[in-house]
Amino acid sequence: MEPSITDLLQNGLQLMIVGMGIVFLFLALLVAAVTALPRLLRRVAGEKAYEQVAPTPLATSEPAIDTDVMSAIQTAIRLYETQN
């Protein structure tokens, strides 16, 4: 048996209320979490650690090869400086 339009509309209304409720609840929780986040991170990392993070990002990225090349070049430069 097909549900009547009234039934459908009633269910739709109910779903609207529950759905919007959950959407708001979820995003409100997210607001709370996100608002607390910077303070939490600062506490975990400690003031110093936090400040130390700031300058590093430029040097982070991965290709480890450059590291090797870097250290070879670095060594070459050191050598040069000490011997001249």
Binding site: L8, L13, M20, F24, L30, V34, V53, S61
Partner: protein, 375 residues
Amino acid sequence: MEDLYRIWQDTGLYNFEPGQAAMLGVGLLLIYLAIQKGFEPLLLLPIGFGAVLSNIPVAGIAEDGGILYFLYAGIKSGVFPLLIFLGLGSMTDFGPMLANPKTLLLGAAAQFGIFGTLFGALALNAVPGLHFTFKDAAAIAIIGGADGPTAIYVASRLAPDLLGAIAVAAYSYMALVPLIQPPIMRALTSREERLIEMSQLRVVSKREKMVFPVVLIVLTAMLLPSAAPLIGMFCLGNLMRESGVVDRLSKTAQNELINVVTIFLGLSVGSKLSASAFLRTETLGILLLGAIAFSIGTAAGVLMAKLMNRFTKAQVNPLIGAAGVSAVPMSARVANKIGQEENPHNFLLMHAMGPNVAGVIGSAVAAGVLLALVR
């Protein structure tokens, strides 16, 4: 010359059914809109071409054994829309949202476009000739999320027959955002409100951006597992991006992977644009409801912003509420543009990006609710 007769019997001219010819026209129209009118060409061009291909008689390109049939498995399984979400996640910067968390509520409010439309779709059953089941209504309603992959994902689960029409409506209205939203935004705001300048966004640390996707997926796991596939893939992409340790994966996810999947997804959606599925009164209903969905979402976002201004000191320009529907980044640009009409020095773009990406989360949450409760 039996061969000649057989080949004539195999021509499109001999075999075209009126519906197929009409759908070929629809496909060409979508291609035209994509190219000449700039309607979300990345999706609508492949969708339109898929419609053309799948409506060629005899060829059977969308039937068992045809390439579009095989590609459609990627939608049926949910894999394609989820991979698109992975790519979008690795393209998304949550910075503006993290800098002003309360804009998340604008993204929540705009989802009223979804649930209002659900109610509207059910009400349309009163019109003779229209028949939407509860599942159909939920799948149509998700157009209000203004988020293509979410709409395709939900529709493929709840109402695969309507998938073509729903995807076409979703992407078309996203392209029409610059036409649909401004009148509503102007009608619901005063000049003073549109002139509100917002304080500059604080700098968000790399660490915050990195932790956010983890927080989001854990919250989703706790509260709304049915939204976990969508939100999860989005978070993975975003974590790959923000962690900075897997750049090569993140680059591939937001370029080659998403491009390949976009082509396949578009073609597969197009393969669902058959005459029997598209040339129905229901499609008109879907197109009507889609327009309503975007309008309700826009209005709800704006009104929510106005409501928030009553309770907090830091004022929000209500125009950015309209960006809560997502349609990233189109609706954020619209908010910015309408704002600059009043004051050319008022840059709302970054402020609007907050509710804009919040709208993506919001509609994924709404999708989770629909998938959990509509059976």
